[in-house]
Amino acid sequence: MRPLLDEAFLRRLSRLRFLAKSQRGGRLTGHHVSPRVGMSIEFADYREYRPGDDLRYVDWNLYGRLEKLFVKTFAHESDLPVYLLVDASASMQLGGSPKATYAAQLALALSYLGLRSMERVGLYPFADRVLSNLPPRHGMPQLGRIYRALSDLTFGQDTLMDKVLSEFVSATKESGLVIVIGDLLCSLHMKEGLSRLLYRGDDIVFLQVLAPGEIEPQGGGLSRIVDVETGKHVTLNLGRSTLEEYKVRFEQHQGELRSLLHELGVPLFTLPTTRPLERVVFEDLREGGILR
């Protein structure tokens, strides 16, 4: 797999940044305003001096007028940890142009975008569990690590989203922007995991990558339908009515997914692999309020 992005696209990406819906603390200075006061250039408030405070921040003018010691506090511009959860289940290898490639390119683009805007970006490939983790870090060297991790992805078996999300919450202590990239053609039993993330204060975005044949299957004839993740299969003589029935069932699945995520306030973007990556980033994610 070679999730390569062309240079012009990367230059355009550098003009974008993630837009977080909530503000939360971060360890390093970033582009997101943190509710925690600290050392930054943007003045926030005064508070009474307490022993141990840094005397450099004592406002002596105010002491001259009020004869009380106050120290200046500053609004802390915090960085936003961006967690990329990339589906590495066997089903991602399907498609004429594999969904995994598309997902990797998308993840790489978002990583670049985040790292350019001084965010910390981490990568968590998953299948039935979190397969590996690349904790969020600053700087462009992290892009190289993410690139290598995406290139060396080992695809697992089936997808257990609930378990994955729970493992992810346990593995990370800091809330951030959690971007889940996968086909989401799995059991929708993930409400608990999502709730834990939301409770921690994470922003969650689902990017559903689908092959065109999954949205509108073609072909016909006697077929052995094999689940690439479980190996189970059914034999069907595919015809127009069967495929129409499939589409109904697919739409039903998508509806359930949308309603689940909508209920939790989690945005979902369904992206066929035929949709150009630039349109996804500059149109879909911007219009969806994920990027600005």
Binding site: S91, M92, L94, G95, G96, D183, L185, C186, S187, A211, P212, G213, E214, P217, Q218, G219, G220, G221, L222, S223, R224, I225, V226, D227, V228, E229, T230, K232, H233, V234, T235, L236, N237, L238, G239, R240, S241, T242, E245, Y246, R249, F250, H253
Partner: protein, 598 residues
């Protein structure tokens, strides 16, 4: 169309195996999906009963079957019949002798007319196999195993007449034998300016004739005895219908003499041309006439010069043997055995290391030829071995009174004459020398008083050196071999004007001149002129009129059925179909892969 190996058609039954395999082949396509739950419990389409028919109509299967049938057809060797007017084998024999250079009234030569006629015959008698024979004293043959006329026409058009003499019926039969034999040919056409004697009965002769000819048919010169100069002997033939007042010119290269002659029509005339001022050794005679064949208006002659025979004598002198040697050739005594042409060993013994030609008369070679004490002899008889040494020798005229009781010679020696069952004349060769042994002394035979003795000695010497020819009108003839034995080691042969004809590397035992003229042989023994003329037969009366209208016999030009092999076409078709099958296969794979993405 028919098949040469129809049994191979049974292989078409193997198509059943392909069909059975196609029917047995699972038609279930594998389709990998991300989530089986979306497909489970979907209603399956009812399977149509026409599915087997559709499978049989699978283009891949049909292509495979067609390929199989074509390959089987190839193995069965299909041929397509076609009928053409053609004969099986045609032989075109064109007289390529010198007389075919005769100019006709229309300015073309007889050879041109012959070739034109031959081309017409090629067109009117297309054959599967054509032999083109250019008949002369050195006949050439080319064969064309093709129905295409182009190479035959090219062959004929590119040919030229030779300066050779006429070919004979034997030459023709021999040439046709090399092409499969006379009987192989449905039609044999001979185009010539004169009929072929004793030609096979199946030969059709087409005559071409040229214009009037006056010819020199013989020329010889002999040096005057007792006075200077020479005398030329010239024979002329007037083949025209009128008297011809012509002039014969004889030249020795420096001076010339001429003689006017009135020639009667059709009568050979012999004239003697005195040439008192001549001092040369090569002569040319020319006929001052403007006739149709210029090739016989000049003839050449070279005086034959005898070579000195270098003799090294060992043993007693014998006057009879000396006399016989001198009768054969001018004799000089050699300075050493190494420079001798012949070493004569008379009643003596020599070492085996001696090299060259050794004539032993009651002589011995140590450890090689040894003679026992003499015993009573008897009549001489030939052992039956054919040898040039005995040419002109009559053994019955010879008698031996005594000869060695035992003659020990090498095992591979050839006994030519015997007396009292004891070898009398024996020859053998070793790596060092060639030996001729007369096992007894001449005194014990009647050899010295018989004419056979000088003949025998001359035969011995003629194998060693070139002996002078007797006065003769016969000179070397174009196209026939000129023997080179006896000239010593040949260095080169030049034609008139110094053109190199052959050098040491190319000279063999004989030299074949390809045109008339004066040639010069340069050898270790000197410089020798050789006169080469066209054959006198080329000047004999030619046929008076063309006779190309009615063939002597009918020939088998008929509707003939030919079979053209079709397998290359079928193989090409199979290759095209295999490519098509590959394309269809890939196209189906791509389509299936796309379908499987769902």
């Amino acid at each position: 169309m028919r098949f040469l190996s129809p049994a191979a058609l049974y292989l078409t039954l193997s198509s059943l195996a392909i069909i059975v395999l196609a029917l047995l082949r699972s038609d279930i396509r594998r389709r990998e999906v991300a989530a089986l739950f979306l497909w489970e419990t979907l209603p399956s389409e009812p399977r149509s009963s026409s599915i087997h028919l559709r499978r049989l109509l699978d283009p891949l299967l049909l292509l495979q079957l067609v390929c199989l049938f074509l390959l089987v057809a190839v193995l069965a060797q299909p041929v397509l019949s076609s009928r053409v007017q053609r004969i099986s084998a045609l032989a075109i024999v064109v007289d390529a002798s010198a007389s075919m250079r005769t100019v006709r009234d229309d300015g073309s030569t007889c050879y041109d007319a012959a070739i034109e006629r031959a081309l017409e015959i090629v067109d009117e008698s297309p054959a599967e196999y054509t032999a083109v024979v250019f008949l002369s004293s050195r006949t050439t043959l080319t064969t064309h195993e093709t129905v295409s006329k182009a190479p035959i026409r090219s062959d004929l058009s590119a040919s030229e007449p030779t300066w050779n003499g006429d070919g004979t019926s034997d030459d023709l039969v021999n040439a046709l034998s090399a092409a499969g034999g006379v009987d192989r040919f449905d039609r044999i056409v001979f185009i010539s300016d004169r009929p072929l004697e004793d030609a096979p009965g199946t030969v059709e002769t087409f005559a071409v004739s040229g214009g009037d000819n006056v010819a020199l048919t013989a020329f010889s010169v002999r040096e005057n005895v007792g006075s200077s100069g020479a005398t030329a002997f010239v024979q002329l033939v007037n083949s025209t219908d009128t008297y011809q007042d012509i002039e014969v010119v004889v030249s020795d290269g420096h001076t010339q003499t001429s003689l006017p002659v009135l020639l009667s029509p059709g009568v050979p005339e012999r004239v003697i041309v005195p040439f008192p001022a001549s001092s040369g050794s090569t002569f040319t005679t020319t006929l001052e006439t403007d006739d149709a064949f210029a090739g016989d208006n000049t003839r050449y002659f070279a005086l034959d010069r005898a070579l000195d025979l270098r003799v090294w004598w060992i043993g007693d002198t014998n006057q009879y043997l000396w006399a016989a040697l001198r009768a054969s050739a001018p004799i000089v005594e050699a300075g050493s055995p190494d420079t001798a042409d012949v070493i004569v060993v008379y009643d003596a013994q020599v070492p085996a290391t001696l090299s060259g030609t050794i004539l032993l008369v009651h002589g011995e070679i140590v450890d090689e030829a040894e003679l026992a004490a003499d015993v009573a002899g008897g009549p001489v008889r030939a052992s039956g071995v054919d040898s040039p040494l005995l040419e002109g020798v009559e053994p019955a005229d010879l008698y031996v009174t005594g000869l060695p009781g035992d003659v020990r010679v090498p095992n591979d020696a050839t006994v030519l004459l015997e007396a009292a069952s004891i070898p009398l004349l024996v020859t053998w060769k070793t790596q060092r020398h060639e030996a001729i042994l007369i096992s007894t002394t001449l005194d014990a035979t009647n050899l010295p008083i018989t004419v056979d003795f000088p003949i025998l000695i001359r035969n011995v010497l003629s194998a060693v050196v070139r002996l002078p020819a007797e006065l003769s009108y016969d000179t070397a003839v174009v196209g026939e071999p000129v023997p080179l034995s006896g000239y010593g080691t040949i260095e080169r042969i030049e034609a008139a004007g110094g053109n190199l004809v052959a050098d040491t590397l190319r000279v063999s035992e004989a030299f074949y001149p390809d045109r008339p003229g004066l040639y010069t042989v340069y050898s270790s023994r000197g410089v020798f002129p050789i006169a080469v003329n066209i054959s006198p037969t080329e000047s004999s009366a030619v046929q008076s009129a063309d006779d190309a209208s009615s063939p002597a016999s009918t020939y088998g030009l008929a509707d003939r059925q030919y079979w053209r092999s079709l397998w290359p076409l079928l193989v090409a078709l199979v290759l095209v179909l295999l490519v098509a099958e590959t394309i269809v296969r890939n196209w189906k794979l791509v389509r299936r892969r796309r379908g499987a993405q769902g």
